[in-house]
């Protein structure tokens, strides 16, 4: 699930794809901002706190430090894990372990599924922006880009872009995974030097009474 954070980070990076489509100019501006942000992010490490709740009960809380590995991929180092202890007794423990494995498998699949909503390629950004109408920006310069059926039929994705910086302010997703409705709300922050990152991410799976809260913080420039 931690990779979901990194996945959302890909909102800041995408390869180039050129096509003559409506609003391609705006799409290219956003893509360029994401690429610039992705390069900046490579200079940083940060902490990531994630909390999984089921039926309103916290099942697992962990804190990782995220750095960048030699392969250019984010590496997570566990700082603290406060997962609930497994029950005593062989059978009960075995059942709990299986449930935990199933949950991890589910969350891994969910993460992979939701990764598509980070629009990791320029083409996906262009497709979203070109297939929707963009309403008038609000007085604070927020540009709302809303698309439907972006990944699966009847899903909706709404990106709020800061017009002057072209960086993401907010992202909300409503989609369906394995027949269950899934909602994601990500709120972004921007550091003084312009680094844009998802500060809070909340994933809800109402049908399973699951809630995943992710908080990214303490961004440190490794070059300083």
């Amino acid at each position: 699930m931690l990779l979901l954070t990194a996945a959302l980070m890909t909102l800041s990076g995408a390869p180039t794809l050129i096509a003559q489509v409506p609003n391609e100019g705006l799409a290219n501006l956003i893509i360029a901002a994401r690429q610039k942000n992705a390069a900046l992010l490579k200079q940083y490490s940060w902490n990531c706190r994630s909390e999984l709740s089921e039926n309103g009960v916290t099942k697992d809380t962990r804190v990782d430090t995220v750095t960048w590995g030699p392969d250019g991929q984010p590496q997570h180092t566990l700082l603290n894990d406060q997962s609930n202890p497994l029950p005593r007794g062989f059978l009960r423990k075995r059942v709990a372990e299986r449930e935990r494995e199933e949950m991890e498998t589910y969350l891994k699949s969910l993460r992979t599924f939701l990764h598509q909503y980070t629009l990791p390629t320029a083409g996906q950004v262009i497709n979203l922006i070109s297939s929707t109408t963009i309403p008038a920006p609000s007085p604070d310069g927020a540009l709302q880009i809303t698309g439907a059926s972006v990944v699966v039929p009847s899903d909706t994705v709404s990106l709020t872009i800061n017009a002057p910086t072209r960086q993401t302010c907010r992202m909300s997703i409503m989609t369906f995974f394995n027949g269950d409705e899934v909602t994601v709300i990500a709120t972004f922050k921007t550091l003084a030097n312009g680094l844009n990152y998802p500060a809070y991410i909340q994933v809800n799976v109402p049908d399973k009474n699951l809630t995943l809260l992710i908080q990214n913080y303490d961004y440190m420039n490794q070059n300083n």
Binding site: P135, A136, P164
Partner: protein
Amino acid sequence: MIPRFSNRLVAAPAIGFLFLCACLGPLRSTAQTPPPGQKLDPLTMKWPRFFAANGYEFSVYHPQVAKWPGNQIQGRFAIAVRPAGTSNETYGVVFFTARTEIDKMSRLVTLEEFQVTKMDFPTQRAMQQVYQPIIQAELPQAAKTIPLDHLEAVFAISAEVAKAKIQQVDNTPPRIIYTTQPSLLVLVDGAPILKPLVGSYERVVNTRSILLLNTNLLASSYYLYAASNWYSAPSIEGPWSVNLAPPGDINPALEAALATKQVDPAYPASPLAAPLVVYVSTVPTELLQTTGQANMLSYENTDLLYISNTDNAIFYYLDDGNYYLLISGRWFKSNSLYGPWSFVATGTLPSDFKKIPPGGPKANALVSVPGTPMAQEAVIANSIPQTATIKRAEAKLTVEYVGGPSFVAIPGTSLFYAANTVTPVVMVNANTYYACQDGVWFVSSSSLGPWAVATTVPAVIYTIPTTCPIHYVTYAYVYGCTPQVVYVGYTPGYMGTVVVAGGVVVYGTGYCYPPVVVGTTYVSYPPTYGYGASMAVGATVGFAIGFAAGASSSCWYEPHYGCYSYSYHYTSYSYMHCNVNSCNYYTHYGTAVSSTYSHGYNPYTGTSYSAHSASAYNPYTGNYAAASHGSAYNPYTGAQAAGSKGVEGNAYTGNSASASRGVVGNANTGNKVAWNNGNVYTDKNGNVNKYNPSTSSYDRYGSSGWQSSTRSSSDLDRESWGQSTGSSRFSSWGSSGGGGWSLILSGKRNR
């Protein structure tokens, strides 16, 4: 390619014989006037043109303009000459002056009083005395009629272009209303002035709308009749709502209002699907309207978005998070479509606006972006007059005052103007009065007349400031006269344009002039806002200005002052989508306008400017749309409205002008192969140059023929651009049927 002449031309006789013949005068000319009704090949308006006489064949290349003050033009032609039937051409340059008769409706310029002032054939100077009489006799015919676009385009790139007169204007933002619903803006010229109408009804007289107040205490309310509906509101500010059950006695009030002939019922072009949202404003106001919620689209390679579902020019600049709105040539910005808006001062418009694709949506905004070629061209076009030759004995003027003449001082001058007439009348002193009617100045020793066509205009009149309601008359000129005629003209400023700091043309002075109401008669003055004034410089049509007030609601309101209020009957006419750069108010003078000139002839149709068909130009889309007689065209949306507005033809020639007045062209052109494809240019020093594609540079014609030139070619490149632009623009104009909005504005309107 070896240049050649037509094989229809005679073979070259001996030089000596020709010299004799030339001294005696030209023996023949190939310049011809087409027979009536004959369609003229558009190519005849192209360059080079040809004539032959006395055994010599001449090829005349595209003119280049040095100066063009008023109606006097100075320029030069590159000319090639050779003995007939040979290929031994010699190049030279011919300088000329002429008086220009400019008809912006047909976009043709006729050169009158053509004088060859100098010529130089560097390799055959001894022969110049042979060529000179031929050229003086033939060139005025061969080059008599020139598409305005040919001259305008090359003039635009001329370094000799006179600096436009910069005017001080008021850029205070008007009230700007943004709506997403079909709406109607009703302008009241200041606080409502109520006059008794009939029964318990009073009429708001300082508006063209039918706006009534029922003073009956039991039904006290304002009532507006527009677009075939009654609307009512408790106060003039609103809120207004459709009233499906107006008072039973309101119909006589409506009839009484219509009977005043001072009101506009704002009939819709077609029945409205739903009542409009009504805004009544007593201050200068502009209505912004999107079809539903605003839909933003972006341009490639800019940081600009624009609103696609509106007729207005509204942009969003991503970098500063502001909307930029273009109204009447002025830019205003706000971080919200609902305002507040502030004026964007000269030099502070983001440079990205220069990157708006010239062929893309909202490209006409480029006219109002300082520094763009379109803005520059607009300034040039704004300086070129519509001219006419007025018969002094026939042009008449009667000034009707509302009550007795009432004169008001013009600030900053010793002048006074009459405040209670739609005809601008200026009192210079107690015994000298000038009046400007439809672009013609008249003079009288009395404010009541009789009026005679003025042969001069006092310079002080041209100091009337923009703060004065009749500033627009300072753009009407008298260029000269004979005992029989007066040469007059007006530039687009007469119709409301003003050149402001930054080198752009705007519409309106921005000043809000107080209305004059005498009795129940309302005299309105030039408004800057409220009519959707917009400008365009199209790739095909050139500079254009139009109004589209109420476009989205299909209801029309129009400027109504001086030049927009034809005649003296206070009758409203439609100028809502005119091209003020190609209209001709002189049509109002009928036969008093001399029509002996070749303008007035459409070389593409072989007739006069068609009075029964027109093509209207959409400044927003850049498209033309054919409009049949009596139809109105919405320049914003491209939609045609029903035929409530008529057109008339050009009074230069009348509705059935004879084509025998036609363009002087060269009927042989079609049989010729143009030398050098017309790419021969002269520079201001009289050197003849041609483009050499093999070296991508210009060769200069000297004493030993064509030689490679080492000089910078940038000026020649500009000449080349100007010529090609002018040619293509005129071709487009012609192929579109000519006319543009001009035909909608070519004469008085029929309701």
